[in-house]
């Protein structure tokens, strides 16, 4: 059972890592898109059509593709002051409770964002000026949120089973 779970955790974390790499690639694309638009606009009087909207959806993709891995690296902003004074068992309990709370909210978020994505698909909601459907990008958000929720779930299970595996040591 434990072995099955650790395989599952490895798969989820591998997916997060791959998405993080995609996120980095999208960031590079965002930079090149911005400079190409500026050069096109000011040197050739030919800006790239829809840069504003493309930049927005790129930003959305960067954030939600990279967030699960950021959570795994324990890079979120936290406050250690009081927490550090707790005993190891109290820390464990607190970690389980706070992650359960976060897991429940993020699961609800997955449900509602996915629902919204399908609603946008049905109503053919488009990104202004580009006229691209908006729902695939909502599904990117949803996918990122699923990975965040799964990462939280993995951390909860590891808190019970093997606390060393909760977050990445060394940030890789």
């Amino acid at each position: 059972m434990v072995s099955l779970f650790s395989h599952f955790a490895k798969m989820v974390r591998m997916a997060s890592k791959i998405l993080m790499a995609i996120s980095q690639g999208l960031l590079a694309i965002l930079m090149f898109l911005s400079i190409a638009d500026v050069i096109g606009r000011y040197l050739f009087n030919r800006p790239i059509f829809g840069t504003l909207e493309m930049s927005e959806v790129l930003l959305v993709s960067i954030v939600f593709f990279g967030s699960a891995y950021t959570l795994y690296l324990d890079k979120q902003i936290t406050m250690e002051l009081l927490y550090n004074r707790l005993s190891p068992s109290a820390k464990k309990t607190v970690n389980i409770i706070t992650r359960l709370m976060a897991f429940s909210i993020f699961s609800l978020m997955v449900w509602k964002v996915t629902e919204k994505a399908f609603y946008f698909k049905e109503t053919n909601r488009l990104i202004p000026s580009l006229l691209w459907p908006i729902y695939p990008f909502m599904l990117f958000v949803s996918f990122g949120l699923i990975l965040i929720s799964l990462e939280l779930l993995i951390q909860i299970v590891y808190l019970f089973k093997d606390p060393k595996q909760v977050i990445s040591e060394g940030g890789n």
Binding site: M20, L27, A28, L30, L59, G66, V113, K116, F137
Partner: protein, 435 residues
């Protein structure tokens, strides 16, 4: 239950969660959602959960955030901080406290490439502290000047804090950037004056460094012209209105990348590391913004900011007294909270009060960023001091905290000067408006 009680309970739950080490972003989401459930019902709260993750992030002005972080990362990984330090060291190193002065000036110049205080403090600390130690500098002065100099990174544009303040208050990020220039130079000048004054009074604190031939000094400037030109292009472009902040970010990031490649300073590994660090920072900041958007929706539905604003105005107290109260609230808060979280939590609450008291929103942005800088220095969680402590493990943290006291006082002096002479912050943005 009256709305202010609901909000009070909301804040208590929020602080309980963050004290228990729940990430700030998640605590904002949880408290905001529960508050909305209570005030508007489950369906309305769920509807907010379905829309806010996308709508809080898909905002064009926020594209400037990763691009300016990336610019700083490229500059950092290309070793520009070393070039800046070399140039300022050769230029003024021979003065009393010369290495500390050079470090402070290098921090000021590096602030023009990065929007991060920690990056400034860490890079300059690694370069300058061993040199100051070798030359027999007083380590309180040495560590204090690096920790404080590092904070200039978020006041002198580009600045991540100004981008986030602009997002929260719907103020022009370009005007905020420009507004940070003169106060940043003023603060840097005050830091230099303090270093000079202390070292002239007691030369043992900072003995002068060696002097260099004019030829060598001039040739050291070669290493910094590119970044200087890039800063002028990016901020100048914003100033004259050629670029939007996001375009300026794109130009800055690409320019720093091109300079690094052109000078063979940016390897493939450094390029990837810059992308990775920027992505991580962007993710945690924007997830935090998703949480704050939900939390603010709760505050708005509770009518909290309006209630607080009406109550404060009904007191008929002097607006300067109220401003002082707000400023003095930030100092203890900065001792315990992460600076970004502090900004996100407080600005939506205080901003309506400040503007209704007749203070300029751009000017207040500058004041807030200086307070955030101060929070990076104050114990027990002054992050810049911890960064310096990691670089110099032989200097006790208590000495580092003692060392920042005069620089912290200079920050308060700057706030007082800016309060009496707001034009220092507003002169350049006003010229921009006329243009």
């Amino acid at each position: 239950m009256p709305p202010w009680v609901i909000v009070l309970i909301g804040f208590l739950v929020f602080f309980l969660l963050v004290f228990l080490r729940m990430p700030f972003g998640f605590a904002f989401v949880f408290t905001g959602f529960m508050g909305l459930v209570y005030l508007k019902g489950l369906n309305a709260a769920l509807a907010a959960l379905g829309t806010i993750p996308y709508s809080a992030v898909a905002i064009y002005v926020m594209v400037a955030l990763p691009l300016f972080i990336l610019m700083g990362q490229f500059a950092f990984n290309s070793g520009i901080s070393r070039d800046l330090y070399d140039a300022t060291y050769k230029l003024i190193g021979r003065a009393p406290g010369g290495i500390a002065l050079a470090t402070n000036l290098a921090c000021t110049a590096f602030a023009a490439c990065t929007g991060s205080s920690l990056a400034s403090a860490a890079t300059m600390g690694i370069i300058a502290l061993p040199e100051m130690k070798k030359r027999g500098y007083d380590m309180e002065l040495a560590t204090g000047c690096v920790a404080a100099g590092g904070t200039l990174g978020i006041l002198i544009p580009p600045s991540t804090m100004f981008i986030i303040y602009g997002y929260l208050t719907e103020q022009s990020i370009g005007r905020l950037f420009i507004a940070g220039i003169l106060p940043g130079l003023l603060l840097s000048g005050l830091f230099c004056l303090w270093i000079l004054f202390s070292c002239i009074r007691n030369p043992k604190l900072g003995p002068p460094g060696p002097s260099f031939p004019l030829q060598e000094t001039l040739s050291s400037l070669k290493g910094i012209w590119g970044m200087l030109a890039l800063f002028i292009l990016v901020i100048g472009g914003l100033y004259v209105g050629i670029f939007t902040p996001s375009e300026a970010g794109g130009v800055g990031a690409f320019g720093a990348f091109a300079l690094g490649v052109f000078r063979r300073r940016l390897s493939w590994d450094a390029f990837v590391a810059s992308l990775k660090e920027t992505t991580i920072n962007t993710c945690f900041i924007l997830i935090l913004l998703v949480g704050v958007s939900l939390f603010n929706a709760f505050l708005v539905h509770a009518g909290f900011t309006k209630i607080l604003q009406d109550w404060v105005l009904s007191l008929h107290w002097s607006r300067y007294f109220l401003l002082s109260l707000i400023i003095f609230l930030y100092i203890p808060m900065g001792m315990f909270m992460d600076t970004l979280a502090m900004l996100l939590l407080t600005v939506p609450i205080f901003f309506p009060i400040i503007t209704s008291l007749g203070f300029d929103p751009i000017w207040f942005g500058v004041i807030i960023v200086i307070l955030v800088e101060a929070a990076l220095l104050t114990p027990p969680v002054g992050m810049n001091c911890f960064v310096i402590s990691k670089i110099t493990p032989d200097v006790p943290l208590s000495r580092i905290f003692r060392g920042i006291i005069p620089f912290f006082v200079m920050m308060l002096v700057t706030i007082v000067i800016l309060t009496f002479f707001p034009e220092i912050a507003l002169y350049l943005p006003r010229l921009m408006m006329k243009g």
